[in-house]
Symmetry: C2
Subunit: 222 residues, 2 copies
């Protein structure tokens, strides 16, 4: 009996979540704000990629970064150091940002004049995939050290993302990582997903990804 009750509650929570996410999407569209929901395992290189992207993006767009973590503020400090407006969101133990938390974070930001809102979600391949935040782009990072089998194990993440960055490609010689296999496995989840290979450390592949992203943002906000 208690199990049935739990399922009811979850369904109502998801329905409420999706309505709030739609409202965020509508609001962002109206304000010409492009919002990225960046998701990955812990340590896949979310913050490092952002720190490398920001100089090129800052020239073109006004940017705000929301750093979601369970219980730390180290990433928001790094973003502030990179010269962009950033806020730290503590999820209070929750394993992902939901639409309401995202809405509150956007409000805190008074983000109406931003071209680009980047949310670095909690490091996790499971929970963030389950919750629509209202982002324009769901972007996942999968790092070479994690292995090319991750789309088999966490298919929902690769189903809900429109683009995947394979990061830390400079460590390829250390790990057996099959580029073709990972692309096939990602496309089995979402045949339209873009896949980029790059190393934020060496810069390999950064230009192609940055140009693609700039183009996506400009198509949406101009």
């Amino acid at each position: 009996m208690s199990e049935i009750r739990i399922i009811d509650v979850h369904q109502s929570v998801f329905a409420v979540n999706d309505a709030i996410a739609e409202e965020t999407r509508r609001r962002n569209h109206e304000h010409r704000t492009y919002m990225i929901n960046l998701m990955a395992s812990p340590g896949a290189g979310k913050t490092t990629l952002l720190l490398k992207l920001i100089p090129a993006l800052k020239e073109r767009f006004s940017i705000g970064v929301m750093e979601a973590d369970i219980d730390a503020s180290v990433d928001a400090e790094k973003m502030a150091g990179a010269g962009v407006r950033s806020i730290q969101v503590h999820t209070g133990g929750e394993c992902a940002m939901d639409a309401e938390m995202t809405r509150q974070a956007i409000e805190e930001f008074s983000a109406d004049d931003l071209d680009l809102l980047i949310m670095e979600n909690v490091g996790n391949l499971v929970c963030p995939a389950e919750t629509d935040t209202g982002a324009t782009l769901n972007l996942a990072i999968l790092s070479v050290p994690e292995g090319d089998d991750k789309p088999l194990k966490y298919p929902l993440m690769f189903r809900v993302t429109q683009a995947v960055v394979i990061s830390k490609t400079d460590t390829r010689e250390y790990f057996s990582f099959d580029d073709d296999a990972v692309v096939k496995r990602i496309h089995a989840c979402n045949p339209d997903s873009k896949v980029f290979f790059l190393s934020a450390k060496t810069g390999e592949g950064m230009e192609e990804f940055t140009n693609w992203l700039i183009n996506e943002i400009e198509n949406e906000i101009r």
Copy 2:
């Protein structure tokens, strides 16, 4: 109003969970079964570590492995290949094993004659830490590529574990990873936590960890 209702339900779920976990612990103690709950990010090397440990453990103990994944069976197949009894548990989208799922998995196993039950939990640093499964030992792996700051960001995981394996130490030269800093950060979460540095690939540090684990198991089951 709906929020208060959610919190109520979560609390009752946790209370039920903890009662089932206690029952599993009692049952394992009665049957002299040592149970390990192995937790880590996706790709930290849980399966690889197990495949390296099993030959040494198999000599001394009868072993069963429960592979928990959202939606794949690749790991259970690898375990079967290593010559141990293994079952694959699909969590149906859930981001961690709970006590009831664990209880059902143990039952499927008819595990009464096992000395050692190893559960490889879903790859995730958040959810598995929140849920007591009834394991004798909560063991976390943190891989060098993930970075030494993870105990700052996922403190609960390092609070609920009695031992942490720092894996992939052979990749140290590729990543800036501060051994002393990570030990301090782990001990800030749990001052009694054991910390082992090892590479399952090169074998560095494996002996020390294996000997410690064998000793822990024998103290409990003999």
